[in-house]
């Protein structure tokens, strides 16, 4: 062990010394070559992090309406399933919601919503708003944090309390400075007390009807009571939202929800006009995010490869210039494979100098762009150990590949011939 460590440390320090000498000897070319390695390594980290950042930004934009969420609502019986004249309008009720909650396997949370458009008024101001009756599960799925106050509770639903949470834009347009939780407003003339304020949501990449900042949330049972549907006396749920356990199951989860709800309302499971569905995940999956990141990484790795060709050329020259030295090493007992190891170590050392500088530059670039505070517009590049590891791995592969030819050429040096040239 000690012997192995000893030879390694000898080659290690010698390799570094020779690497720096080679860099000094070929200063101009070394600069350009190392620039390629530095830039390539930095680019792997930066563009990889950027690709991940774009993914996160787009996901965040899509998930502002709810992470891993799907929606189902009732339409009309499809033309393929019944004569057009007989197409009934369909709806879901509270029992349908409960049934889905009990029977779903692919979703871990199911919530009910009842949507209404109405005028919200307060202190002489008015605004058309998207009033949503929601149960605590729906609020949990939507996942919008509170800026103040409390959420809608099970108790609010049981007592059909006239309480609301205000979206950020509704709050700004309706309430006066100093007003907030505790204020009474009216919606379609009916009084509601503000119990909470939703935090600003900002730019959404998907939306169902109005933006969340323009919505007002009230207990589902309250909205069902105050805004009954003309065609039925039972409490209606206009939208059922569900959160998938595994986002990869988006299609299966949609099928499962449709099957359960279709059975409940007595329509065909294949009638996608009767039970309609949508998920922002389906849209998100259409974005070529992986291809985008892959393309960026290929560009970066190509740059690194060009740097590797520079290293290769520089090391081939170095071997040519040092053939006498290599001859001396062979004369005093170095085996060809010792020379190969040394040349590899030197090439790797040259590459590592550029690679480590590139890691530093890449990390700096990620942090610099990440410090720009516009998370919805500028992606925050994501620095990950695996990306730095990948950059170093690619750099090592480039170093090894660039080292093959110089090492092979060095190992073919005939000491008798080179020492004769002295």
């Amino acid at each position: 062990m000690q012997r192995g460590a000893s030879i390694l440390s000898t080659f290690g320090s010698a390799a570094l010394r020779e690497a720096f000498h080679t860099l000094r000897q070929h200063r101009g070319r070394a600069f350009l070559t190392l620039f390629g390695i530095v830039w390539g390594t930095a680019a792997v980290i930066f563009l990889g992090g950027w690709g991940d950042g774009v993914r996160v930004m787009i996901e965040r934009g899509f998930f502002k309406t709810g992470r891993n969420m799907g929606t189902a609502w009732a339409g009309r019986i499809g033309e393929d399933f019944t004569p057009a004249a007989d197409r009934r309008t369909l709806w879901f009720n509270q029992q349908d919601l409960e049934a889905l909650r009990r029977r779903t396997r692919l979703s871990d949370l199911v919530g009910g919503e009842l949507w209404e458009i109405g005028a919200a008024t307060h202190g002489g101001r008015a605004r058309i708003t998207d009033l949503r009756g929601m149960d605590p599960e729906a609020i949990e799925i939507r996942g919008v944090p509170l800026a103040a106050g409390r959420r809608i509770t099970r108790g609010d639903l049981e007592h059909r309390r006239r309480v609301v949470l205000l979206g950020d834009e509704v709050r700004r347009l309706l309430l006066r400075p100093g007003e907030g939780v505790g204020t009474w407003i009216r919606i379609e003339g009916k009084p509601f007390q503000v119990i909470g304020l939703l935090a600003p949501v900002g730019i959404q990449l998907s939306q169902d009807r109005m933006l969340i900042d323009k919505q007002v949330w009230a207990p589902l049972s309250t909205v069902q009571m105050l805004f009954p549907r003309s065609w039925t006396d039972e409490p209606v749920v206009s939208n059922i939202i569900y959160r998938m356990r595994d986002r990869r199951d988006v299609a299966e989860a949609k099928r499962e929800v449709r099957a359960i709800l279709a059975d409940r309302i007595g329509v065909s499971r294949d009638d996608d006009e009767a039970v309609m569905g949508w998920s922002s995940l389906e849209m998100l999956n259409r974005f070529p995010l992986d291809q985008n990141k892959g393309f960026l990484l290929i560009l970066a790795i190509a740059t690194l490869g060009v740097g590797g060709i520079g290293v290769l050329s520089m090391m081939l020259d170095a071997v040519h210039e040092r053939r006498q030295e290599i001859g001396v090493r062979l004369a005093v007992g170095a085996r060809p494979r010792d020379v190969v190891v040394q040349l590899f170590a030197e090439t790797l050392a040259v590459t590592s100098v550029g690679g480590l500088a590139g890691v530093a530059l890449g990390v700096f670039g990620c942090l610099a762009i990440g410090s720009v505070e516009a998370p919805d517009l500028v992606p925050v590049p994501i620095l990950s150990g695996s990306l730095v590891g990948a950059a170093l791995a690619v750099m090592t592969i480039v170093g090894v590949v660039a080292g093959v030819a110089p090492a092979w050429r060095a190992s073919r040096i005939d000491p008798a011939i080179t020492l004769r040239m002295e």
């Binding site: 030879i7 440390s9 030295e325 005093v332 085996r335």
Partner: protein, 227 residues
């Protein structure tokens, strides 16, 4: 007892373009342990080629060479390297020290390739430098040493593996006469201590001072004289 070196009908042929150069044309030579042998001859006589074969830097095209009983022509590159590292010490006309290493590191080099642990390596290199009277210059690089000092470092490097054979190729060729005398005295001392020394020289004075003088001409041994 077997001789340390035994050449039997050794030929060496080089191909240079279409022409074949016959550098050695059947050399028979035996050198015993502890001998000091000078090899002389005009340019093109095959001195350097013979030295390369003796030093296992190349192998005969034809014929046999045994070093300490071992058939050299049967060895591959790795085997030749091992033999060079363990049995042979080289001293070159232009010293061939590695310029970016200190004297001590240059002397350590053969031990590195024999996988000698660092502490032992250092101790043996210091001893070897001490033997040639250069212990005070151990931390200097070749550029900071005089010609004579550089050649002493080269001799220390050749000795550090305690080789069976010391091969010197024009060891005084780049030195002034006083320094040459010092180096020859050192080689003579080493011979006195029991080392086997083979030196190639153009200098007839040096040749005559050696106990045994082998003269080459046209790739053959022309004469082999002992005191």
């Amino acid at each position: 007892m077997n001789p340390l070196l035994a050449l039997d009908g050794v030929h060496k042929t080089y191909a240079t373009g279409r022409a074949q150069v016959h550098a050695l044309r059947g050399v028979d030579l035996a050198i015993e342990r502890g001998e000091l042998v000078a090899i002389m001859g005009p340019s093109g006589a095959g001195k350097t080629t013979l030295l390369e074969i003796l030093g296992c830097l190349s192998t005969p095209s034809r014929g046999h060479y045994r070093l300490d009983g071992q058939a050299v022509e049967a060895l591959d590159d790795g085997g030749l390297a091992r033999l060079r590292g363990s049995e042979i010490g080289f001293v070159f006309q232009s010293f061939n020290l590695l310029p970016r290493m200190t004297a001590l590191e240059n002397v350590e080099l053969p031990l590195v390739y024999r996988r000698v642990p660092r502490a032992e390596r250092r101790q043996r290199a210091e001893e070897s430098l001490g033997r040639v009277g250069l212990d005070a210059r151990a931390r200097h690089r070749p550029a900071e040493l005089s010609g004579g000092e550089r050649q002493r470092v080269a001799i220390a490097r050749a000795l550090v593996n305690r080789p069976a054979l010391l091969l010197a190729d024009e060891p005084t060729g780049n030195l002034d006469s006083q320094t040459s005398d010092e180096i020859l005295a050192l080689l003579s001392d080493l011979h006195g201590e029991g080392h086997t020394v083979v030196l190639v020289t153009h200098d007839a004075t040096i040749g005559r001072r050696a106990p045994r003088l082998v003269t080459l001409r046209d790739g053959r041994v022309e004469s082999d004289q002992r005191d």
